[in-house]
Amino acid sequence: MASVVESKKSCTVNPLKMSQPLGASFAFLGLDACMPVMHGSQGCTSFGLVLLVRHFKEAIPLQTTAMNEVTSILGGYDNIEAALLNIRKRAAPKVIAICSTGLTETKGDDVDGYIVTVRKRKPELDDTEIVYVSTPDYVGAFEDGYKHAITAIVKALVKPLPVKADQITLLPGSHLSPGDIDELREIIESFGLSSIVLPDISGSLDGHIAPDWRGTTLGGTTLEQIRAAGGSAFTLGVGEQTREGAEALREIAGTPLEIFERLTGLEVNDRFLQRLAQISGKPVPAKYRRQRSQLLDAMLDGHFYTGGVKVAIGAEPDLLLAVGGLLHEMGAELRCCISTTKSPAHALLPAEQVVLGDLEDLERGAADAGCDLLITHSHGRQAAERLNKPLLRIGFPVFDRIGNAHRRMVGYRGTMDFIFEIANLMIDQIVHHHPGDWPLTPEAAAAAAPSAGAGCCGTPLTPTTLAEASA
């Protein structure tokens, strides 16, 4: 429903957006025994690393090809080769996943070609899979990088296999937390289906204490699982950003697919469970029937606090739709919606307009529309402070809260958790009134004064006139 407009500004103020290579690295972090590498100068990696660490409070494996000015101009073959060999030697990952950056894209490095050459020259890399994705910083946003990374993984590693009727592939969007992925896996498995989650940050970034110290990711989708995806009976994607990957799977292995535009909300989850029942030939388990009715109750309890609330949301497209869609269903008004990049998801958003912009747009939009609630990542805290409005933190990065890995927003249960979170936040905003809160206008006070006769002649009421009047 929403129409998309692009911010007309030359200068982005308080960015909402993050870059493609970071989104791609995020996806690669969901592969087991993987080392993501940014092909670029080392600062890009360092910035990405800091954000990931602050969000997940975890050690994050992420490397750089450490390009400098000279190598950038000469081309990055040597650096890619050196990086691959070094990483192989130090951390022995099963997969090394490379994403390009603005720098190497501007130069026009042919990384696909480099990899072919490295393969020929360096047999010691034979036991390591290499995945490459092109992600220039000056195109698209975080979600686009993530999207292309899934496609790249599929294209590099999946081959058709005989179909297993009870196995499905789940492609989670980048807006799902490890907790969300666990929730979906549990739902899928409750139908007797097995699932391959790609990528699966619930294995690597769910905040656990690992047995030892390894240089690579600790958990996530294994190589065997990725390959096995060629035999899944169905692909389920969450978020428009997974469509490209799902379609790649269909092209390679002929797997039918369905993309759920979101899994936060009642009706979408109904459809999801229906679909699972249909694929598995099993009825919806009692547990979820029960959860559905709990969600209904939560929606009823919650609507008092969400109805009529004017919200301003800044988020990547799929997350914007998930949160905005639910809030709309709970009676809130989406007055100001800011996103980072183009996506078919925007067309589904129950708002008038989506602006591809920054947090300055969000702040001004929220102020103009008199919004009661701001919803965006942690960078929104300055705007919220200035506007003196509550901030609900969502998405990535949320660096000033802990527990992000376990926060749930999908399924009946996750939807319910999220409703409680918003409603409780709004309950905190309920104003407590004081005797002086509703002063009359001076006109009203004057009109109501006893010597209305005197008042009509324009004489102001003073003690003397009052005394005279009563005399």
């Binding site: 200068c11 103020v13 890009c44 910035f47 000015e69 690992a210 047995p211």
Partner: protein, 502 residues
Amino acid sequence: MSVSLKAKIAEVFEEPGCDKNQGKTEKERKKGCTKQLNPGAAAGGCAFDGAKIALQPVVDVAHLVHGPIACEGNSWDNRHSASSGSQLYRTGFTTDINELDVIYGGEKRLFKSIREIIDKYDPPAVFVYQTCVTALVGDDIEAVCQRATEKFGKPIIPVNAPGFAGPKNLGNKLGAEALLDYVIGTVEPEFTTPYDINIIGEYNLVGELWQVKPLLDALGIRILSCISGDGRYNEVASAHRAKVNMMVCSKSMINIATKMEQRWGIPYFEGSFYGIGDMSDTLRQIATLLVKQGAPADLLERTERLIAVEEARAWERIAHYKTRLTGKRALLITGGVKSWSVVAALQEAGIEIAGTSVKKSTKEDKEKIKEIMGDDAHMIDDMTPREMYNMLRDARADIMLSGGRSQFVALKARMPWLDINQERHHPYGGYEGMVELVREIDRAIYNPVWQQVRIPAPWGDDGETLGAVPTAAIPEVPAQGMGFLADIAAKAMGLEPEEIPV
């Protein structure tokens, strides 16, 4: 690389005040900080990052990053450099260039961005940062800034330190060069006093400058400008009228100190706010230099009196922790001056130093460590995360003090960790800060959570396989009497423990 940038980098490498560089041979120096990093085994920020760290604490100017979204979008709002006024420095400005800008050049967009910032925010100046992509496509930010300066009648300062020029510390210096070329000396202060000093290389992280400023205030010493913590554009621009420069020992902006000496004859010294002895030395040095420069001589006496009072108070407050911390071992993974300057305070509290890293330390730093700790047995040159992990897991240290990067090494080994680098939330400057540091160490080590997280799972498949600290190695936590609770209660009330009536 533009010719001007090349010249700048060469100049920075010639830096006479940087003994790290002077210690190198001619050839090494040429290579300088641009030595090839190891692809696939490198860590750390880029030159742009360094320049931004150095200059962003100037709080009232707009910091505009010219490049694709990566550079600013992935990094803004990331540091705790505190401001006592304007918050403009926390606003993330970037040209966020797109494909067309890459093809046709981003200069137009940059110019328009500057105009938008001036229209909307009207800062006293705009700092424009070059980054890799815009440097590679050849955007001439110096020219754009010059044109914008003329057009808008405001200083628009180019900061030419694209990421690929080198690592973070080179960026610090290039940022400083921008100040030398375009800012310092361009404004006259309203008035001067014989007690005016500049502090260079202090970023006021978590407000540390404010732990020191009251001491200077009490002596009547005025910080004419701090470069750049809690700095104001006009203060920095008038810094050339100070009588003395203090260089905070991280040598990140040594070029400012040496060039100001050449240009305006301002003497400088290197000092530190970390560690009690160092804080006192710093006060002495400031006073001595000011008197040499013409300040009344009684400043020296007053300084000594202040030092005596402050030191006594600090040692007494640290001694308070002695019984609880005696025999505890700390692993110190930090850089440069901090690898030794905090040691005295820790030792005073009874803490042993299990090791201190010297990876980023100079020869002098190492000498000092030897001096304080007797030998060099505790110096750690380079430690892999796995070695740190093993050391902690085997309980050869009771706490690790380091930067955020390695925090999980300690936490995953289920050992206490304290941030002493730039993302920390507690200020450790001056006399106040050292007491705070010891208090934080105490709070970390004595948190009962350590006993909890080391409990092996009853079903036995946890403790060993997950690398928990072997039960025998768990340090005994003394019975927690009321003393411990009083501490917590005191903290909760914002009081000193000793202020609590027993």
